[in-house]
Point group: D3
Chain length 244, copies 6
Amino acid sequence: MRILIVNPNTTAAMTEKIGRAARAAAAVGTEIIAVNPPDGPVSIEGYYDEAFSVPGLLAEIAKGDISGVSAHIIACFDDTGLEAARCISPVPVIGIGEAAFHLASMLGHRFSVVTTLSRSIAAIENNLLKYGLAGRCAKVRACEVPVLSLDDPASDAAARIGAEIELAKQEDRAEAIVLGCAGMADLAARLSQRHGLPVLDGVASAVKLAEAFGALGLKTSKIGAYAPPRPKPYLGSVASFSPR
Amino acid sequence: MRILIVNPNTTAAMTEKIGRAARAAAAVGTEIIAVNPPDGPVSIEGYYDEAFSVPGLLAEIAKGDISGVSAHIIACFDDTGLEAARCISPVPVIGIGEAAFHLASMLGHRFSVVTTLSRSIAAIENNLLKYGLAGRCAKVRACEVPVLSLDDPASDAAARIGAEIELAKQEDRAEAIVLGCAGMADLAARLSQRHGLPVLDGVASAVKLAEAFGALGLKTSKIGAYAPPRPKPYLGSVASFSPR
Amino acid sequence: MRILIVNPNTTAAMTEKIGRAARAAAAVGTEIIAVNPPDGPVSIEGYYDEAFSVPGLLAEIAKGDISGVSAHIIACFDDTGLEAARCISPVPVIGIGEAAFHLASMLGHRFSVVTTLSRSIAAIENNLLKYGLAGRCAKVRACEVPVLSLDDPASDAAARIGAEIELAKQEDRAEAIVLGCAGMADLAARLSQRHGLPVLDGVASAVKLAEAFGALGLKTSKIGAYAPPRPKPYLGSVASFSPR
Amino acid sequence: MRILIVNPNTTAAMTEKIGRAARAAAAVGTEIIAVNPPDGPVSIEGYYDEAFSVPGLLAEIAKGDISGVSAHIIACFDDTGLEAARCISPVPVIGIGEAAFHLASMLGHRFSVVTTLSRSIAAIENNLLKYGLAGRCAKVRACEVPVLSLDDPASDAAARIGAEIELAKQEDRAEAIVLGCAGMADLAARLSQRHGLPVLDGVASAVKLAEAFGALGLKTSKIGAYAPPRPKPYLGSVASFSPR
Amino acid sequence: MRILIVNPNTTAAMTEKIGRAARAAAAVGTEIIAVNPPDGPVSIEGYYDEAFSVPGLLAEIAKGDISGVSAHIIACFDDTGLEAARCISPVPVIGIGEAAFHLASMLGHRFSVVTTLSRSIAAIENNLLKYGLAGRCAKVRACEVPVLSLDDPASDAAARIGAEIELAKQEDRAEAIVLGCAGMADLAARLSQRHGLPVLDGVASAVKLAEAFGALGLKTSKIGAYAPPRPKPYLGSVASFSPR
Amino acid sequence: MRILIVNPNTTAAMTEKIGRAARAAAAVGTEIIAVNPPDGPVSIEGYYDEAFSVPGLLAEIAKGDISGVSAHIIACFDDTGLEAARCISPVPVIGIGEAAFHLASMLGHRFSVVTTLSRSIAAIENNLLKYGLAGRCAKVRACEVPVLSLDDPASDAAARIGAEIELAKQEDRAEAIVLGCAGMADLAARLSQRHGLPVLDGVASAVKLAEAFGALGLKTSKIGAYAPPRPKPYLGSVASFSPR
């Protein structure tokens, strides 16, 4: 099966990293297509950046559908544009945030999230509430490293994330950790080893869920919230997105 | 004070209707500026339409800020783009959905919502959960009249909405009704009269809240979820939205 | 329009302070009538004081209705007697607690409350639960200054409240602050300035909401919880309150 | 031990009925003192009646404490004045509503409540939320018989209550029933027999809980919400209630 | 009346201690029969031990029913096997955990639990959620003393529990304490005295509730969750438990 | 990888059916070992049957661990013994109920469950609460066909389940359906086709999740709720289960 994984920001290096993480998680026979839109913010840190990444993201989803992929993954931890993507696509769409939350719920009594910047905490908390899993999350924490600095050795990202994990174990009684950014995908195994509890990366989690839905032939329900958009004119610069 | 009310869809007739409703609610001395973006869907019915209305909406918010308005209102009942708008604007931003929910909570034990199409119910329910007011809402109902047919006499919109109001009184034990679409703004008073309970329109509700925040000098908090976007490049067609 | 604001305790100096705060918030053309009952506790600090303030409060509400006011405000942060007042009055009744909670919900992801004494925390928490907004409140804190000492320089009230606000920012991740006592009405602007986040006073908040309901012609629903009391004899000292 | 049961309305016939129900439930060695205040409404049906029953109720509680009772029961299903009574009394205070809710929670997965008038539903729902037991209650129903008509054969009260019980079994999947008025105390056994599920009366439930607390030497906590009222002047007609 | 109290672990010394605590709480005329199954773990610390105590526990419940007891108590704080026992017994079954939670809810705004080992916290939290009382519990704490060391002077159990109680007062704002292990039954009175707030033991709490249900003639509902098991073969070593 | 799927009842025909369903869902390279304990009830319908299936289930889990499987699945929709199994096994354990709930949450706004008998509804509702997903489930419904009659043509099981699915669509606004019994595993595809919405079977769902955890190297957290049982004697018939 072919899975499209869309990094909704425009930083190609991050798309590559996400693609590598996805391929490392994928089963034999799964083809991962990792893309990012040409238009949009170079990183997504808060609600405003989210807003401008969604049209480009949806364009990639639409292209993926034309090319016949079996499932889509949205590789931003805020699950940016998830519901809109479900409306237009005939195949399942999975957010890396929800993927990690659902899997973590089956590995421990409660999990904590470690994300990048504290400005992103509210959106994550709102998502947890929407998914029903707020009660399973002990706390959403921020390591205060910007998305594009995660790979910068000077950011000391791994150490800062590790410090939050230790606090989560001691103060939150967290039994599992969810890494709250697609850019942390390469850290999960090492942190799990070091801190002695499951550490989940959303990219890998979503790949396995996408494969699961594909194998089971399960698709997004089309009778309610995710019904196909009603045909109508879209004006101006977005006219080409008009649903027909 | 000057209040910008943005209809995030591109139907000018609806913008005019919203403007009239807003002016009818406004205090002496309040100037209402009703606009819609030139680009975007002609109506917002579900998550997909929402996504393509947000960039245009945010552009209008930004223009309003340059022109020095005291508050913004987002005149789509889904409160489309509300959080993103709060991040970029120095002045309060109010969604017509949240406005009506908050006011209705002070007029009865529970309210029901009557919106247009059932595909919009999920987004409204998710908003109620996010705002904390899900427990105050007895039920979100749909009259199954599309947004742009509300004014079409053939749609029998008032009668269908009235039928749902009666069901809400009998089956939901609702004590107040929130009309779930900006395009219903002109119906509130008449329906309230006919059905014998408060019927709230979000446009008028939001105008009074915008005036309230303005008069009290209260502004959106900038220390967390709604901190100004971090400066960063936006690529391609959205480059001009890049926060600086 | 004329708004009756009832301070349900019997301390005239506090009624005057509340009246001043209300007038400062009121629109041109709004007349504020600030009263307190002649009978009752000199301050309201906990459930027992509340109980003995309600009959006097309701008598003032009834008098206000006879004099034809357009809305009532109950100026005790516990929203003492709110539901009972709604049953007898034909016009809207707003509690200063709920007013501040609802407005604060539109300015930040979460707010914290700073009230006077810790014995009042439970009643506030119960109100938040009842209103649906418990999830929007990060924490209810007490500065441990009694109501009638708020104006006593020796109480160092502003400093103690300020200390709690800083804790709320750091420990609760609060993005807005609600001042939890009518006697703190004069501190909001200064504290907001000093601590760099919105600080809401319930008195001013309620005035704007009362004006809003008045302007919109919205009144308390009379078909359920707030139906007029059934006519019946009241015996003894409360006979004159008997509903007819 | 001696238990004071206060009917907070002023209808002596109802107090007698409550006293009989309490004595029927009491253990050998338990003395039941059933009283009602001389001042107040003849029945409590909604928030307004509640407000005027509380001062008289608290006076009876205070007298009971002087006479040395071991526990108090408030025999109004709304648990009127419960928290205030807990503040002034050194011994436990139990509401008949909470008593029945807690016991019913141990007899079935979910219970429904059948109360008198629909105007009382909101207060009961708010109490369930406050106690934490809203999720254990399937539905609060009203038989639409006024409190003082429960004993009037013309009211057909038992039949109407029975009809609601059948609906609760079929529509709510209720496994137990809580009778929502002190005036229904004599019906529980018969209805339980007829409908084949536990039917709980709050008066009897509260008597056993009062005996339990007395026997165990457990008293209301005095370190927070129910701390003794702070000494302060009460003015005018309520001066004698001033805490010292 | 006769009450069977089953200690579901196999440590006879603990059964005796539980029996003593139960008898100390019982009314004159109540006969306490304290037993433990011959088969099962010597203590219950976590989900796995629970699983192996249930069959033995249910056998004791069944024997108690044959001997005609009026109620059963399950004396493990996790309320192990509670629902299954309710299915087979015609008389009420009370767990010591739920008993203490319900009573504590009537003595203070919020309670904290102090249990033995932190591995037991999750099961207690899940029970609180199931009973509806999670919102009434400020925190579940562990003193990290194993069940069978509670009586070992070297464990310093009372001091460790006391330290957690002080933290619960200061950090959780708990107004009452629930002791989270049947083996702590002898400590409640002394800790209550020392720390100045109600400290509840589940064994004594459950005895009074069992007496209450017995006196009121209230029995477990048999129309839903606790309907008698359907007759069917049980194979192998558990064949004798087969419902008929 | 090898996955052990344990049918916790003792009906070999059902184990075979479950095994077939699991193999149909499994990836190439996944070996499914489907077993049932020799001791226990022939079907699990309610809490009592659950209790007697757990020891046998845990014995199978332990044997599976000795044989080196990579994950376990518990093939009873009540997720019987799930937490206990997690304590003893070093590899992930997945319940078919939770598996289906989590996957369904990603395919529609809300799902309804259709189980066998109404006596099983309470346990399923309690699980949904425990997992956090109660808010995502519109309703738990029963088709009133016993487990072992599902394959009996006379039971008309498919028609009865189909009727509940239609009610779920119309009355609950469900967008997806979860089949609430392992014995329904063969019906999902056909019902999905016929009713036009995703219909999920827990067995297939759990197989894909087990494969996911295996591929990602994620294992149950061992630092809290699911820590290995403490070594201690188990007496009598269960002595062999004693943790060491």
